[in-house]
Symmetry: C2
Subunit: 334 residues, 2 copies
């Protein structure tokens, strides 16, 4: 049976046209919604897988743990270069630990009975962490199996050194506890080897009965024991002392203590040990080295006497430290 021929102007005919075009439109809309739905479903599944990976696999939360700073350290050392490699080597250095808002002031009660504390911290400026920072969710930290310590001429295993470039960037250091301000949640410490902004994970009291080995049971590698007393002779001429005096009002840690400030500069320069690359860099810069301490830039030259032995350090000039203005000298390779 053939389709009856309709009068194109008839209302039925118009109605059918309308309905058919409506169907076409609905089908198109449905197709679009289907596509959108599928896209959303795919995206949701993808993000969920990523979340699972982040929580379980990449971060391996079942095996490791996420550590978060409970405060940050405000240090007299704004830069990594020149920060003493051990706090005990420069006892006049100063810093304060400012705890986060969620740390209770009660946590410090009784701490005033101890002269020294262990500070557990993150090596946050390690270049092996930096590389990973750019990759969100990245967790694998690269480290070298062997490194050359500044006091040794050849490589040793990372576990035989105190290098900051460790498998896990968690360190601990001993410092003298100077003062506790529970109200501002601030610990004032001295004898520090930590750079400005170091994230703090924990504080615990130093107890010699637990933390010290009796000398008759002790053995230390000779490359440490034979070099531990090595100090460079540091000369701070009178004109430099005069320059430094004028800068005292600008200081954060030593404003009212000129003698301690001189002492901290001398101690720091006396024990600073540069790597081979850092030495070459200084030589390329007319042997002008730079050390920043508190708000002062200390310029000095460094010469090894012809008869050998530790180098002589001569401070040539001090001037006010303005952050981010020292690139050429300050950006020296570590």
């Amino acid at each position: 049976m053939s389709e009856p021929v309709l009068d194109p102007s008839s209302s039925q005919c118009q109605r059918l046209d309308t309905l058919e075009s409506e169907i076409k439109s609905l089908q198109e809309q449905l197709e679009l919604r289907k596509t959108q739905y599928e896209a959303e479903r795919k995206a949701r599944a993808k993000v969920e897988r990523q979340l699972q990976r982040t929580l379980q696999h990449e971060l391996q939360t079942s095996q490791g743990i996420f550590v978060q700073p409970i405060g940050h350290l405000d240090s007299c050392f704004p830069n990594v270069v020149g920060t003493p490699r051990q706090g005990a080597l420069a006892p006049s250095t100063r810093a304060k630990i400012v705890f986060a808002a969620n740390v209770s002031p009660h946590t410090f009660e009784g701490l005033e009975d101890f002269s020294h504390v262990w500070i557990t911290f993150l090596f946050h400026l390690n270049t092996n962490i930096k590389a990973n920072k750019d990759r969100p969710g990245a967790t694998a930290v690269t480290y070298s199996a062997k490194i050359t310590p500044p006091m040794l001429q050849h490589k040793v295993g990372i576990f035989a050194t105190r290098s900051p470039h460790r498998p896990n960037p968690v360190g601990f250091t001993l410092a003298r506890l100077q003062r506790i301000c529970a109200q501002t949640k601030t610990l004032y410490v001295s004898g520090v080897d930590l750079v400005q902004g170091t994230p703090i994970l924990d504080i615990k009291p130093y107890v010699p009965y637990y933390d010290c080995v009796p000398e008759d049971q002790l053995q230390v590698a000779s490359w440490i024991s034979t070099t531990i007393g090595t100090r460079r002779e540091v000369t701070m001429p009178e004109h430099v002392r005069e320059q430094l005096k004028e800068l005292m009002p600008h200081q954060k840690f030593y404003r009212d203590d000129f003698v301690q400030m001189c002492q901290a500069i001398i101690e720091t320069l006396a024990v600073d040990v540069k790597s081979q690359r850092q030495k070459q860099y200084a030589e390329r810069n007319a042997n002008c080295c730079v050390q920043v301490l508190d708000q002062v830039v200390v310029e000095y030259t460094c010469r090894t006497p012809s008869e050998g032995g530790p180098a002589n350090v001569l401070i040539t000039r001090v001037h006010l430290y303005v952050p981010n203005t020292l690139q050429p000298l300050d950006g020296m390779p570590e």
Copy 2:
């Protein structure tokens, strides 16, 4: 103009009906797809927000860091209860650190020149971590601002103690390095206060010049300095020594060293300090206390002499340790 009346049987009429019902069906489908699409979109956005929070906010990856064990410790202490609170207090205790497959044997080179190492580890059995384990993605670690140390009768701030329940469950402890086996990536250590399975984050050499404070500069809270020498008198009767001898072939850490095994048991019981709750628990159990060391269960009683002073410990029996069979005594509150 009124709608023309159609013959219900006409083909146009049927066509319109079909189209209208098709429209209705399409509209319903579209409505459904819309709902599904909206649901997926919502779900996707929710998961994405969760992922963002996980990566940035909850975990604060910009501020903290994920640490992963590089190995695990195999200890003569299978349980937390009875593990010495400091390694130096029980020098005959033994353990070995077995490093992960991805740790290079070169990392240990030069470590043999040191007698002692710092072991950085995770407090993996802390109950404050356990609580968080059950909540995937949970990262906030709860800790008390103040705790009562076993040697003190009142609470002090967490930072004035060496309690394992710290803001970040990262600890470090000093141990004697006995032997290095680079081939199996194993370090044999003694004088340990770590429980079986402790995840290891790092090893670094102990250097007294950095890690020890000269005595004239030192201050320690009196609740530590006055109790540090306190030891309980431990008696191991002859019949117990005979029992122990028979168990020697089953030992992992002391198989060939009966004298050291006796010594480790005595040292451990001499310094074990129970909390108030643990004491009450022991009393409810006819004053029978239990200490597991290596593969041996040591049963003992503990009495404070009427004239005061440290308690006397009498070892009553030793028998072979079978894991997970000690619930009633072993599950004692910590």
